[in-house]
Symmetry: C2
Subunit: 397 residues, 2 copies
C-alpha cells in the first residue's frame, strides 16, 4: 500500500511532551514534565451526584443529539460568567460556542480564518498545542518574544506600524504555558488598542486564569476590545477528561465557527455539558472550588521554587508565577537542556526542554518545570535529583 | 469590524436539515425530517449504574486527560468486536482511533488526506455531514450514482479504468442515509478488489449496521481489503449525546490521523469512553440491546411504509429498507419536493427534500422520510397530513 497524504501534514509535528510522557510513566520517575491538573482537585462527589441526577431524573434528552453551539443550560452559565468578567452583556445566542476542549477552539478558528501563508502572531515560547493546531493550516508565524510580563506588545506595535497584517494574534495572558508570565495591564490595554486600530483579531486563551494564588486579578483583553475571541475551559478548574471548553467572540466569527463545528463533530457531548453546567451553576460552587484547589497549587509552586533556590541556587533563574502550573527556568552553562534531560532521566526526574515550546525548536538553556501533579515533598526530592543530574552533566562535559 | 475568512469557508454550507429542524420544533408538527435515534432506545439505567460506579469507585483517572488514540479499555472492546466482524486480528494499538463521533473521523481523514482539487468519490445521494466535512478541504467530488443495491460500483470500475485516481472513496454500505440502500455482496467484493488493484483508500461508514431488521447481514468491505478505513459509532446503538465513535484502518493512515486528532482536541472524553466501554463490555449486553431496539425500528418502518402504500399509493415509490432509520422516496408529478415541503409544513408534517443530499443541490422529486422518532400511530397520521399536502400542492399548480 502507498498512501499519499495532504501537504498540510508537513505541519503535523508530534508533541515532544506527549512522547516524553511515555518515559515518565516509568515507575519511580518524578515528573516535572506533565501539564495535568492535580487529581486531588477533581470534585468527584459533586460530579457523581449530578451524573446520577441527570441519568435518573432528566430523561433521554441528556444523551440525545443537541445544538451545535452548545446546550442552552451551559451557554447561560457562560454568558453570566463572562458578562461579569468582561463588564458587558454577553449574549447566550450568537457569541458563544461550546467546544471539545479549548484545543478544538484553536482548530476551528484556524480552519475558518487561515489560508496558507497568512500571518499568525505567536509569542515565544508558546503553548505547543496551539502551534500544532495552527500549523496544520500552513500559516507563516511571526514570533514576538515574551518576558515575565507577557508578550512584548510594544514590539508587535512596531511590526504593525511597519505593515505587518496578521490574521490573528494568539496570546495566553494569565500564567502562560510554559513561561508562567502574566501579561501586565498596560500591555493588555495596548494589545486591545492595536486590535481596534489595525482591525486585527486577538485570540485570548485563558485556561489557567482561575488558578491565581498571588497578586491581583487583571481584566481580560476581551473586556477592552470587541475584536477578541476569548477561550476558556473546565479542564483546570473542574476536570479535563470531559473535554468541555468554550469560546466567546464576535458574532460574525462565531457564525463561521459554528458551521465548522457542525462539520467537525456536530456538537460537544450533551451529557458532559449538562453535567458540568449543573455542577458549576450551584450557587457559590465555583468560589468554593477555587478556595479548595488554589492553595494546592500555591503550596506546590512555593515548594518547588524554594527547593530550586536552596538546592540549585544561582545556577538556575526563574520568576515566581502568580498562578497556574508552570515554572519557566533558565540554566547557566547548559547550552542545550535536552542533554541535561538525559542526565535527569537517569537520576529519576523529568522536565520539558525549552526548545519544545519554540517554532524553530533550536536548542536552548531553558526548561519548563510543572509543579501541578507532585506533592510538596516529592517536589523537594525531584529537585535533589535535578541537582545530581546537573552534577553528572557537568562531569560529562 | 471586517474579518477575512479562509478560502475554504466557501465549502461550509449550513445543513439544510439542521435549519429545517428549527421549523419542526413547532408544537404539533410531526417530523419525518430528523435523523435522531428514538429516545426509547437509550439504556439509561445501565448508563446510570456505570456512571455511578466510575465516579464512585474508579478514582480521579476517569476524568483526567488520557491517550490521544483512546482509552485502552474501549480500544480492547473495539478490537475484539471488529476482529470477529472482519475475520482477522485487529490490533489494540496502531489500528484504532477513538473519535468524537463518526463525524470527527471524516474531518480527520479529510485533513490528513485531501489537498485542494484532489478527487473524492461519493455516492449520490450522499450523507450531508460527510459532504460538509470533506468539502472544507476543497476536493473535487466525483459522483457515482446509487440504486437500491448501493453505489453502482461497476461505474466506479469504468472511471478507474479510464484513469480516475481518487484520494478516497466514501461509502455507507448498510442502510444508507438517505437512500436506505444496502450494498450487495457482489458490489462490496468488487469495491474491495478495485481498492487493491488501484491502491485506493475506501472509507466505509457504518453507523446503522447494528439496526438490521430484515435480510441477512453482509460482511463489511473492511473484511475484504486492507485498504479500508471502517467508521463506527455508539450513536445509534447506545446513545448519540456522548459523541463517541471510532475508526479502524491501516496503521500508516492511523498514525497521521492520531497526530491530527492531537492537534484537533487532544483526545475524546475519558469519562464517556470508559462509561460506554463498561456498558457494552458486559457479557451479552450488545445482543440484548439489539434485541430490544431493532424491533422498534422494524415496527416503525413497517407502519410508515404500509401507510404510504395505503394512503398515497402509486403516487410515491420507494424500496423497503432492511434496517436503519430512513425511507427514500420519489414522488410522481412533483418536480421539486422543496415546494411540496411548504405545503406539508402547512399541514403539520415535515421531511427533507432530496436535493439536500446532492452535491449540486438541483431540485428533484425525492424526499427522505425518517421513521426513527415517531410512534407507529403518529407515522400513520403524518402520512395522512402528507397526503393532504399533496392535495393542496396539486391544486396550487
Amino acid at each position: 500500500m502507498s498512501f499519499h497524504f495532504a501537504a498540510r501534514t508537513a505541519g503535523l509535528r508530534s508533541s515532544a511532551i506527549r512522547d516524553l510522557l511515555k518515559v515518565t510513566e516509568m515507575s519511580d520517575m518524578l515528573s516535572l514534565a506533565g501539564g495535568l491538573p492535580t487529581p486531588d482537585s477533581f470534585p468527584l462527589p459533586d460530579l457523581r451526584r449530578e451524573a446520577d441526577r441527570l441519568l435518573g431524573e432528566y430523561g433521554p434528552r441528556v444523551v440525545q443529539y443537541s445544538a451545535t453551539d452548545g446546550v442552552v443550560d451551559l451557554r447561560r452559565w457562560i454568558a453570566d460568567h463572562h458578562s461579569a468578567e468582561f463588564g458587558r452583556e454577553v449574549a447566550v445566542d450568537g457569541e458563544i460556542i461550546v467546544t471539545h476542549g479549548s484545543q478544538q477552539a484553536l482548530d476551528l478558528l484556524a480552519k475558518v480564518l487561515i489560508d496558507p501563508e497568512d500571518v499568525v502572531v505567536s509569542e515565544s515560547p508558546a503553548y505547543l498545542g496551539a502551534v500544532q493546531a495552527l500549523e496544520l493550516f500552513q500559516p507563516r508565524f511571526e514570533v514576538i518574544p515574551g518576558d515575565e510580563h507577557g508578550m512584548c506588545v510594544e514590539l508587535l506595535a512596531d511590526r504593525l506600524a511597519q505593515g505587518l497584517r496578521p490574521k490573528l494574534v494568539y496570546v495566553v495572558p494569565n500564567f502562560h504555558n510554559p513561561s508562567g508570565a502574566t501579561m501586565s495591564l498596560e500591555r493588555r490595554q495596548l494589545l486591545a488598542r492595536l486590535a481596534d486600530e489595525y482591525d486585527v483579531l486577538v485570540v485570548e486563551d485563558d485556561p489557567y486564569g482561575a488558578i491565581r494564588f498571588a497578586g491581583t486579578p487583571l481584566p481580560p483583553v476581551a473586556s477592552m476590545s470587541e475584536r477578541v475571541v476569548h477561550l476558556s475551559t473546565f479542564s483546570k478548574i473542574v476536570a479535563p477528561g470531559f473535554r468541555v471548553g468554550w469560546m466567546v467572540g464576535p458574532p460574525e466569527v462565531m457564525a463561521w465557527v459554528a458551521r465548522a463545528k457542525q462539520a467537525a463533530d456536530l456538537h460537544t457531548s450533551t451529557f458532559a455539558q449538562l453535567l458540568l453546567a449543573n455542577v458549576v451553576a450551584q450557587p457559590g460552587w465555583l468560589d468554593e472550588q477555587k478556595a479548595r484547589i488554589v492553595p494546592m497549587y500555591r503550596e506546590r509552586c512555593t515548594a518547588l521554587a524554594d527547593a530550586l533556590d536552596t538546592q540549585i541556587g544561582p545556577r538556575i533563574r526563574f520568576h515566581r508565577p502568580e498562578g497556574g502550573m508552570f515554572l519557566w527556568t533558565e540554566f547557566d552553562e547548559v547550552p542545550d537542556t535536552k542533554v541535561l534531560l538525559q542526565h535527569a532521566v537517569e537520576q529519576g526526574v523529568a522536565f520539558v526542554p525549552g526548545n519544545a515550546f519554540t517554532i524553530d525548536q533550536r536548542p536552548d538553556s531553558k526548561a519548563r518545570l510543572s509543579y501541578s501533579t507532585l506533592a510538596p515533598e516529592q517536589l523537594v526530592e525531584a529537585v535533589s535529583r535535578l541537582s545530581r543530574a546537573l552534577g553528572t552533566f557537568d562531569s560529562s562535559r
